[in-house]
Amino acid sequence: MPEENATWKEATIGGVVLRPGSTVAYKTGTWRTMRPVHDTDSCTHCMICWVFCPDSAIIVEDGRWVAFDYDHCKGCGICASVCPIKTEAHEHTGEAGKVIQMVLEQD
């Protein structure tokens, strides 16, 4: 495995990545302009967001929703789109709607 900042003579041919799971080290969370927020009280832990998240950024333990992995979540909004559970007043936004809602990154 070449070191960081390998020269062209050291880098692997064709950009083949020899170390599995290396995307963990690549923090894509900085790409985000909006982030998902979650209403813990209303969540039924159906795991539909976990199934659909294209970046494996839903952290689950013992079959229960635990957190968003904001280091890797790109803010695509798929989790908020597919979330099937409603809440009267979201714990972050205060608005009626889904358990997962999107807010501006700075909010």
């Binding site: 900042n5 390998a6 020269t7 062209w8 880098a11 041919i13 064709g14 950009g15 083949v16 990545v17 020899l18 599995p20 290396s22 690549y26």
Partner: protein, 397 residues
């Protein structure tokens, strides 16, 4: 043991015969005139069980090259074939195959790109792909198409290269023209190509790899530099493989073929089937005392700059014939001319070089055309004056 068999084959069947003897792990292809006979015949070999190949009849050429990339990344020996618009539709994946350093071997039966719609030969298809990162070998005859394809496997898979190879033959003229072809004993071919041992495999579950990964400003540049480094090593490999093939078959291959060039004052440079007509005219003119020779490049990528400059060193006037146009290039010249001019200039040679565009969309080229070129060259050699850089042969003016 029978070393080879003499068969009557057209270029397409010569290519599918080579593919049968190579017996690749995977062939993914889509039929397109005039390449159809290559994959149609090969798919029959698959159906008849004479090869072990997994044949994938895909929905397009884009899918064909995509499937080839996946199969090659998995570690298989992979081949395909296409022509013209099929190659154009593959475009995205043609670059990706080369950049991922996958040694795929592809026959291209040269055909004019649309529009207007045309199915006959010119080199606009493969010349358009000249910067894609594939080695390009051009064949004059069905025999060369067969021989080049077998050598291409060895060249592509060489550990220093890992570059895909395109083997060209002229559509219809070579592809559908029946010639005498010496077909090697299958065992000799298998021995020559050996077994492919991939550097990495996508199917290596013990040591998983990622192919075609995200590669930003921090590494992309280095990977491009690696590609051009591989090309700098390719010429020696092509020469070595050509010599070794010569020992096996009696038909050695180099970077180019020259005819009557040693003491020539004038030279004609042309690729593929038209060089046969050129050779006969050069032979006739030599009989009349005209000091003219022929140079037929076999390898266009990597471009043999130094080798061609050395071969043309003593020549006063050169005519380069191109079967395609690099639209918008200097005076609307063709790619072979432009590259050769650059090579001669970089070598410090002030040789007078002119360009003739010919044969677009399958327009025939006749001995009279080469005689006209020779006459122009004699004028240039005598006066040192070039009246126009680019001319057209067989065009109604």
């Amino acid at each position: 043991m029978v070393k080879s068999t003499r068969l009557a084959l057209d270029g397409a069947h010569a290519a599918s015969t080579a593919m049968r003897q190579i017996n690749p792990d995977v062939v993914a292809a889509y039929p397109i005139t005039p390449q159809t006979a290559v994959v149609q015949t090969f798919s029959q070999y698959v159906a008849d069980g004479v090869v072990d190949t997994e044949f994938m009849a895909v929905e397009s050429e884009h899918a064909a090259m995509s499937a080839c990339i996946g199969a090659s990344a998995a570690g298989g020996r992979v081949m395909t074939a296409t022509a013209a618009n099929g190659l154009a539709l593959m475009w995205e994946m043609v670059y990706i195959a080369a950049s991922m350093r996958l040694p795929i071997v592809m026959t291209v039966v040269n055909r004019a790109l649309s529009a207007p719609l045309n199915i006959h030969c010119d080199h606009s298809d493969s010349m358009g792909a000249r910067d894609a990162g594939w080695i390009q070998l051009y064949s004059e005859t069905a025999q060369e198409a067969y021989d080049n394809l077998i050598q291409a496997v060895r060249i592509a898979e060489h550990p220093d290269l890992l570059l895909p190879v395109m083997v060209m033959q002229d559509g219809f003229i070579t592809g559908h023209g029946v010639e005498r072809v010496e077909v090697l004993d299958e065992g000799l071919v298998k021995e020559f190509i050996g077994t492919y041992k991939p550097k990495y495999s996508l199917l290596d579950v013990d040591e998983p790899k990622t192919f075609g990964a995200w590669d930003m400003y921090d590494y992309y540049f280095e990977h491009k530099r690696q590609q051009t480094d591989a090309f700098s090593k390719a010429m020696n490999v092509i020469v070595d493989v050509g010599e070794e093939y010569g020992q096996l078959s009696g038909r050695g291959y180099g970077i180019f073929e020259s005819y009557a060039l040693d003491d020539a004052e004038m030279a004609i440079v042309v690729l593929s089937s038209a060089s046969g007509t050129a050779r006969s005219v050069v032979k006739k003119l030599r009989g009349e005392g005209v000091k003219i020779g022929l140079l037929k490049p076999r390898v266009f990528r990597p471009f043999p700059s130094q080798e061609l400059a050395a071969a043309l060193k003593g020549v006063k006037a050169v005519a380069v014939l191109d079967r395609s146009i690099s639209f918008g290039a200097m005076d609307g010249a063709g790619p072979l001319y432009l590259e050769l001019c650059a090579a001669l200039f970089a070598s410090g040679l002030g040789t007078k070089v002119v360009n003739y565009i010919f044969g677009l969309g399958g327009r025939d080229i006749f001995p009279e055309h080469f005689e006209q070129v020779a006459s122009d060259l004699q004028q240039i050699a005598a006066t040192g004056e070039v009246k126009s850089l680019v001319g057209y042969l067989g065009l109604r003016e």
